[in-house]
Amino acid sequence: MALTRAQIESIAQLARLELEPAEIPVYQESLSRIIDLVGELDRADTAGVTPMAHPLPGLRQRLRADEVTEQDRHELYQANAPQVAAGLYLVPKVIE
């Protein structure tokens, strides 16, 4: 299946990825081939098969008690942030 330029642009927008114009045909080609590769799965007979939800059969995800266990370490965590002021993460203005 050949993906169109418009499809690649729309996937890139969904994934919030800025692509250079020259990258688009490259991804058009390789993504189309990957979709062809995974298209082989159509030939597998999966009637009545439950989709696998966990690599270990019968194991269920644990839940912990709904209690506060974390300490406030925002200064340490925000040391990695590109832009912070007064303990808040800064982004470009969203509301005019």
Partner: protein, 485 residues
């Protein structure tokens, strides 16, 4: 020549005061510095912290204390978070990221006394089979530096193969421990899903990712894994089951052990010379009393297409966190929030990561979810059922680790599909959550190849036992590249 010693020998030598931890750390740091311009195995070298930790370990050892790995030098794949040390995941996105905490694996190995010498190079976000997608440049294979070391744990594998460190942590989502182990002529084990905590392991595909280790022998892998494994409340998929003493199980006799050669792995894609090395290895196991038969897993050849739906789908969700706001790369002068997201991610991620994020976004997008994602999870169930059926007949499954020995740098970078097919024999164990390892079993030309051993869930002890008994009979694992002798 301390670097000629195994991890087990180094741990014993430290206890016997044959050498000190500071001496060991200095010797290995010197080898790391000397090899770095050639192999590029490290992203960060933490010499100062390592020497301080070694001095502390020497004091513990002098007082007759210290854990099972007290004073032993190791290094971590740069995917494990290390408190106060830059953790990049091989990406420009995390070029400036200093982790505020230790991954559980890092903390456990620290508690066992191991000394971290630095952070190892890898494919960006563990997406690659040749270590050529790293933002920090490719790693080279110590056996021949024109060739790739495999990936994604290429730095870990090259460093252990060149004896720059006796052991390295690594991770395996579709073969990223076993394939580089094979291509670099060393031993690598990916444990059962849930056996080793994923807390502090930067996520790629959460239902497939599993931490493990690269060493020069199965005995050393057993020693490392015993310290790394175990329940962790911080990982919701961690399994609450006791960790057996893998070292104590190593020598069990192989008489009566039933070994199944995976029929689908001896296919037209397998290099003929590589196949001969595998068949020689199986003869050794038979001589030790194991019985051998061929076993068919008919759905296994669909592993690659299943993987290239499931892994990118999980990748696109996991990598959504890199938004240029809380940590990681941010573009210059964003016009608005959309522009901030799009350019920060477009600049921060390399070509292969973008390809997988987009593939995942596509297969999960409205109208395609059932056709791709649910279909793949159904076929994944069939593959898991094939393994389950096979383990009703045999105790372990064996086959090649990779279709060929290492390939030249650049040989497969132009075509992602060709690159993806390198993992054709390793992906199945990840899809089914099974423990699997690779041990060196000979050479094709001047390059090593590996034998893969897969076990039922939580049978790490059994596959390490098979590997160890094999290594008692052979010396492939003792060979090391001449250039780094």
């Amino acid at each position: 020549m301390v670097h000629r010693n195994s991890l087990t020998e180094l741990a014993a030598g430290l206890r016997a005061k044959t050498f000190s931890s500071v001496e060991l750390v200095r010797a290995f740091l010197q080898r790391i510095e000397a090899a770095q311009p050639v192999l590029n195995a490290f992203i960060s070298i933490t010499a100062e912290q390592a020497l301080a930790a070694a001095a502390a370990a020497d004091r513990e050892l002098a007082a007759g204390r210290g854990g099972p790995l007290a004073g032993v030098p190791i290094a971590h794949k740069d995917l494990f978070c290390t408190a106060g040390v830059r953790t990049t995941c091989g990406s420009r996105m995390l070029d400036n990221f200093v982790s505020p905490y230790d991954a559980t694996v890092v903390a456990k190995l620290k508690a066992a006394g191991a000394i971290n010498l630095g952070k190892l190079n890898m494919d960006e976000f563990a997406m690659g089979s040749s270590n050529e997608t790293s933002w920090f440049g490719p790693v080279r294979n110590p056996w021949n530096t024109d060739f790739v070391p495999g990936g994604s744990s290429g730095g870990s594998a090259a460093a252990v193969a060149a004896r720059l460190i006796p052991a390295a942590t690594a991770t395996d989502t579709g073969g990223s421990i076993r394939q580089p182990a094979a291509l670099c002529g060393i031993t690598g084990i990916k444990p059962t899903y849930g056996r080793v905590s994923r807390y502090g392991m930067i996520a790629f595909a959460s239902s497939l990712d599993q931490g493990g280790v690269l060493t020069t022998s199965a005995a050393d892998a057993a020693l490392m894994l015993r310290e790394m494994a175990g329940f962790d409340a911080n990982d919701s998929t961690s399994v609450d089951a006791p960790v057996p003493d893998y070292v104590a199980e190593l020598d069990a006799p192989l008489a009566g052990v039933r070994i199944g050669l995976i029929k689908e792995f001896v296919d037209e894609g397998l290099d003929r010379e590589n196949e001969l090395r595998i068949r020689d290895a199986l003869k050794v196991l038979e001589r030790l009393g194991a019985s051998l038969r061929e076993v068919s897993l008919p759905n296994l050849p669909r592993s690659v297409p299943v993987y290239y739906v499931v892994a990118p789908a999980e990748c696109s969700s996991n990598l959504a966190r890199y938004d240029g706001v809380r940590f990681g790369h941010r573009c210059q002068e964003p016009r608005d929030l959309q522009d901030l997201y799009r350019r920060s991610r477009g600049e921060g991620f390399g070509a292969e990561v973008k390809r997988r994020v987009m593939t995942g976004t596509y297969v999960l997008s409205a109208g395609y979810y059932d056709a791709y994602y649910l279909k793949a999870q159904r076929v994944r169930q069939l593959i898991a059922a094939d393994f389950k059926r096979a383990f009703g007949e045999v105790d372990v499954l064996v086959g090649p680790t990779s279709p060929t020995a290492a390939f030249r740098l650049g040989a497969k970078t132009a075509d992602p599909i060709t690159m993806y097919l390198n993992d054709i024999y390793t992906i199945g164990a990840n899809l089914a959550g099974l423990p699997a390892l690779s041990v060196p079993c000979g050479f094709v030309g001047d390059l090593p190849v590996g034998l893969q051993v897969v076990g039922p869930h939580f049978a790490e002890g059994r596959i390490l036992n098979v590997a160890h008994r094999y290594q008692r009979e052979t010396d492939w694992h003792r060979r090391s590249p001449e250039r780094f002798a």
